[in-house]
Symmetry: C2
Subunit: 309 residues, 2 copies
């Protein structure tokens, strides 16, 4: 029974990849992740891809009209390839140095979403470059994009963020992790596909929340642990105020109440608490939300927030 | 014991991906590939990535100085992600229609090359955009690139094409294929990495020939069959002349002689015949070189070239 761990694309590449620091960051992260690797069961890593897919989209937009344009599902697939490579290489190097023998692999992952998901009628996830209002309004007409106005920055495309329904490569991932391997899967939340009446898959222009995909992965695999790494070292009551207090434990019922009352920001902590609560409720096991830096302390119970059944 | 099959990136995307025909091509190819899938042993697919990595390089070059630049190893990893997605999705749809149950997955693949490979001293593989002579000469100085002059087209960067030594994710691939799965692996010839004295991996700016990687994969797995799909429907004596004659069978000794005499072009049929001969010699089994269109006929023996021990 493996552990499932989710973390953002920022943990690997907060700014750019030209400074050669990707490798350093990947290895620091890999060293932290190995803390979680049990001796005889496996580990599934679900990474985000925000900064990376943002860079590819910028390139695609800057060369639009001159070079072939690729759809969003294909771009997510590209980031699974590149981030998966940096992560698996870093994990191999860290395990090599510690003389720890473990198989490590990245499995490309499609994730099925419902074509009737209400998210398709209400795109919310901002991606790619900012445009001037004039450019943005042209793109709304020309490409049918949904755009939002961001104060002082301009207009930005928003895409649907439907819920993950099933992990297409589930069996391959489960088989690989069963032998105690580390498997990088569901990267960027997975490549979004829909299924038609005949069971055939098609790519869609959407982005799936990686914490939701990781939670589904943890529940589908029957994972004994589920950890979400983020910038903050836990979930806070009154976050950002002088009175902020970290929840040491957060029962599912309390988590649901906070979510319903809109006390957790939709774009950041909200989906993480929801993903953790879904796992805790379904599996009867606690889920941990913490930062890379406080991971060790959190396993001891002196940091992080444990979402409990 | 699986079958290993290699084919070029052109088979998927000869021109561009904006016309929506990638999916059609991928499904036509997938249907052909399934002809080769035995009922109880697996299939490993090793695809090329020439046109796809070419497009990404064009985008990277057009936005150089404004957006982060990624190294060649990372770009190969991106194409493993995108091509792997198109292929695995197409294979799932084709098997679904035929009600054939088989697991299908893409495993990101690093391939170790020797840092002392003579290819690093003599780059030969052209990649990316064409430049004017003036631009090209500037890049030689500024970036330390090796460039070649291509008649009527301008200057083009050439990178080393070292020989593959080992497949880093070999165990994960072997485990996955053992259960009868279709595994897409070693895409684009694999992500080129070198190993230092401590066993640690680093990416290198190179491209590995995908037919050589496929041959190494077939030998490492003990594959019962090895097939290389290409544009031509076999190996020809006097190719392109009115007297051209297809070799129905080509003994390894004869293949080695043709290679040594330079009778097979280095950029196209040469590496394929070498890859097939290496397999036939090591395994004592014939290897097939043919086109997607003539695959069925070739299995009957009425088309293609069988390189025999």
């Amino acid at each position: 029974m493996p552990i499932v761990l989710a973390f953002g694309g920022n943990a690997l590449s907060p700014t750019s990849s030209e400074d050669g620091k990707d490798e350093e960051r990947a290895e620091a992260l890999a060293a932290a992740l190995l803390l979680l690797l049990p001796d005889d069961s496996g580990l599934v890593l679900v990474h985000g891809n925000g900064p990376q897919v943002g860079n590819i989209l910028l390139r695609v937009e800057e060369t639009r009209g001159r070079l072939p344009v690729e759809a969003l599902d294909v771009l997510v697939a590209e980031t699974q390839g590149s981030i998966g490579y940096l992560l698996t290489r870093a994990l191999r190097n860290v395990t090599q140095r510690r003389q720890r023998r473990v198989e490590i692999a990245m499995i490309g992952t499609q994730v099925e979403v419902d074509g009737d998901d209400p998210a398709f009628g209400k795109p919310t996830k901002p991606i790619g470059p900012f445009y001037t209002t004039a450019e943005g309004e042209k793109l709304v007409v020309k490409k049918g994009w949904s755009m939002v106005e961001v104060r002082d920055r301009g207009m930005r495309r928003v895409v649907p963020s439907p819920k993950p329904r099933s992990i297409i490569e589930f069996h391959a991932i489960a088989d690989a992790v069963r032998g105690g391997s580390v498997v990088v899967a569901g990267g960027g939340g997975g490549i979004p596909v829909t299924r038609n009446a005949w069971g055939e898959l098609s790519g869609v222009e959407a982005v799936i929340d990686k914490d939701r995909t990781a939670s589904l992965m943890a529940r589908s695999l029957g994972a004994v642990g589920f950890v979400i790494l983020t910038e903050a070292d836990g979930v806070y009551d009154g976050f950002g105020t002088p009175e902020q207090v970290r929840f040491e434990t957060l029962p599912v019922s309390e988590a649901r109440r906070l979510l319903a009352e809109g006390k957790l920001p939709a774009g950041s902590m909200g989906p993480k608490v929801e993903a953790a609560a879904d796992y805790a409720e379904a599996m009867g096991q606690p889920a941990l939300i913490t930062s890379v830096e406080r991971l060790t302390d959190s396993l001891d119970g002196s940091a992080g927030t444990w979402v409990v059944p």
